[in-house]
Symmetry: C2
Subunit: 309 residues, 2 copies
Amino acid sequence: MSKVLVFGHKNPDTDSITAAISYAYLKRQLGMDAEAVRLGVVSNETAYALEHFGFEAPRFIEKAAPEASQVILVDHNEKQQSVDDLDEVQIIEVIDHHRIANFETNDPLYYRAEPVGCTATILNKLYKENGVEVPKDIAGLMLSAIISDSLLFKSPTFTEEDRVAAEELAEIAGVNAEEYGLEMLKAGADLSDKTIEELIALDAKEFTFENGLKIEIAQVNAVDVDEVMEQQPEFEAAIDKVIAEKGLGLFLFVVTDIINNDSIVLALGEQAERAAAAFDVSLSNRTATLTGVVSRKKQIVPVLTEALK
Amino acid sequence: MSKVLVFGHKNPDTDSITAAISYAYLKRQLGMDAEAVRLGVVSNETAYALEHFGFEAPRFIEKAAPEASQVILVDHNEKQQSVDDLDEVQIIEVIDHHRIANFETNDPLYYRAEPVGCTATILNKLYKENGVEVPKDIAGLMLSAIISDSLLFKSPTFTEEDRVAAEELAEIAGVNAEEYGLEMLKAGADLSDKTIEELIALDAKEFTFENGLKIEIAQVNAVDVDEVMEQQPEFEAAIDKVIAEKGLGLFLFVVTDIINNDSIVLALGEQAERAAAAFDVSLSNRTATLTGVVSRKKQIVPVLTEALK
């Protein structure tokens, strides 16, 4: 059997990187020649988790087809978030927790999506269903993903199933989830070594609506949001470039306060006012505060999809 | 909690009808107010299975939104195969074994697809995962679906997982699968009470390609294929009407010999020659024999998708 590449989305977050590693491991135990790879730069948060549990970052790839005919997607399904040459390979599995869109196959496949907060929660089930024990170090990675996606168990995306999985995985990994999690989030919120261009690309996702409208939503976590926003003019210049290059109708830059769980958004593009109106706020100097909003997937994407479709 | 409608595809086959019944039952056991409904006429084969295990056919619906805000799709995902007002309701779950296409949601959902021969095989797992026993009569329905989708365990879509599920379900249902299965297939292959229009609509599925091409593939099972083809002129007249009404580039009418496991196809529409060429056959009087071809999903749709895209 030839090699199968396993990867999460572009601009990978901790769930995308660790899900690729954790699921490739499971598939190897089940006899598949699976290799975890990544489609982008590893964030400081993810680097912290990888180092803490003794892993190297997966290998970066730009294209899949030159080295494999089959791939497995984790933590995403939308084509524009995936590898550029996705059309040239066969998707044999998807493990995900997002909405389904811009996704199509010629053949039946294994597709497992559940409306939970993190891919790792589904992977924890798949280990059980296949009778494979989660190794201690991989349990640490999977726990890191749940902490990351739930902002330490506080996001509205965090479900009872995520809670149960996090408890089981913390037990196996032998860590105190609260203590370890805060350290990991702080490592991720240290943005001091990032350029403006990196900050707006670090965790950015593009969405295409049926009417042809393309938008991009980038999110960073911060301990001191005001400090980040001091560079607003520089962000605007960099974002305007992206808007022009990609033909976007909206770029939303979301800076999330990991202590207070609010977000400041910087909205640029011709749909900016409509986007703000969708959240019942007005833009002031192109920014607005979204109180209690921390989840792009649950609190931002559905609102914009409804408002801009 | 308000009612959730559970249904298979239009022109329902035995898997679509019985999966709706079997999954709605499981969801009710788990506390959901789920009701199985259907989007089309019950076939003779399905009627035989329902009667044998003591079920009434589910209620027919034309639209979902007037009575429910949430739905569960079984045995399909493509929009054009589903209820007409699908865009007006929320799809909260999909349980399926087909390719994924023309499917999109605004929100995360539970999506469970596996590359197996029958939805019932996946449902059998879901009963186990949820710790619910399959009742005897529902086991009979689920077994009927596997027999139907696999043409009594002979289709290339039939996997090891389907075989294991069929054995377990036959045991619970207390029937001899081979004997019961042949009777059920014969009941389905009795086409004597059907009009020409009914025969070409009975198990017809429409597919839309990215380039805008629309095709329809209808399949009937028969014991005596030649007898069915005696009415070729009448079929052609009826199919030409459908092609004109729906703007199809191809209508493929597949008559499958359930004893010898070959199919005769009648190909009409401007793409007919290209379709035949995709199978390395030439049309003679607009028909061709496809030796060993019994599965629309595995042996016909992928070939046409590749050739006509």
